[in-house]
């Protein structure tokens, strides 16, 4: 699929782009661990759904708020 002229473009490209240094210079685990500790675990979607349903229920039936507190 490559024309002979494309070989010249490929050669020019090889000369033009930065060479890739393929050796990993250091152990990245400390950074990875930092990233893992930074992020709190995501709240599952059904928790959000439950919270939304509760909020809706309290909006439409505010009299249920004391009942809710009683059961908490």
């Amino acid at each position: 699929m490559k024309a002979p002229k494309d070989d010249k473009i490929v050669e020019l490209l090889k000369q033009s782009v930065r060479p890739s240094e393929s050796a990993l210079p250091r152990d990245l685990w400390p950074q990875m661990l930092g990233r893992l500790q930074q992020r709190s675990p995501a709240v599952p979607w059904f928790d959000w759904a439950l919270l939304a349903a509760l909020a809706l229920w309290l909006c439409f039936a505010p009299s249920a708020i004391p009942l809710l507190f009683y059961h908490l």
């Binding site: 490559k2 782009v17 930065r18």
Partner: protein
């Protein structure tokens, strides 16, 4: 041999969310993932960040990982997507870094300008074409490996490389650069 025997257990533990198993896999594959990413993005600093991002995505997706599958191939696929996302958001007009070795030329200034403009034209290619062309033409990776990493067929890789060359030829022509 011992490592190969332990691998399915390790992968299974990782799939169940074991952090020690994740650490073991990280230490085993970080260099390989980094090497793959740096070939695509051509920047060691960025490649380090993207290696972390790759393993972050791997960690998040642990429950979806099938322990009977090849972890290295799965990691390569994710790292390719991470690198692709980076290229999509990267600015294509940044200048050529100083550490590109100078070619023997009667006029180094003109030669450097020519190469800088070629590199810029290459970075302006759509990210998908750029990744396929980098891996196939510059890194000379087998088309089969590129296809697996991108999750497409070998034919689709060849098509992307062909399109990349066609666009690049046109861009270089517009810039008055004769290869």
């Amino acid at each position: 041999m011992l490592l190969l025997e332990q691998q399915p257990d390790l992968q299974s533990q990782f799939a169940h969310g074991d952090l020690d198993a994740f650490e073991a896999l990280f230490r085993q594959f970080q260099a390989e993932v980094y090497r793959w990413i740096v070939r695509i993005v051509r920047d060691p600093g960025v490649a380090e960040e993207l290696t972390i991002e790759t393993f972050w995505r791997i960690h998040r997706a642990h429950a979806r990982f099938d322990p009977t599958r090849n972890f290295a191939a799965w990691a390569r696929r994710i790292s390719t997507n991470v690198a692709l996302d980076h290229l999509k958001s990267a600015h294509p007009y940044e200048s050529l870094p100083e550490d590109v070795p100078a070619a023997a030329s009667p006029n180094p200034g003109v030669e450097r300008d020519r190469r800088e403009r070629t590199a810029r034209a290459f970075r302006q290619l759509p990210a998908k074409l750029q990744v396929a062309a980098t891996l196939a033409l510059i890194e000379e990776e087998p088309y089969k490996d590129i296809a697996e990493a991108l999750g497409i067929s070998v034919g689709a890789v060849k098509l992307r490389v062909f399109r990349a060359l066609r666009i690049l030829r046109k861009k270089l022509g517009e810039m008055g650069i004769e290869p």
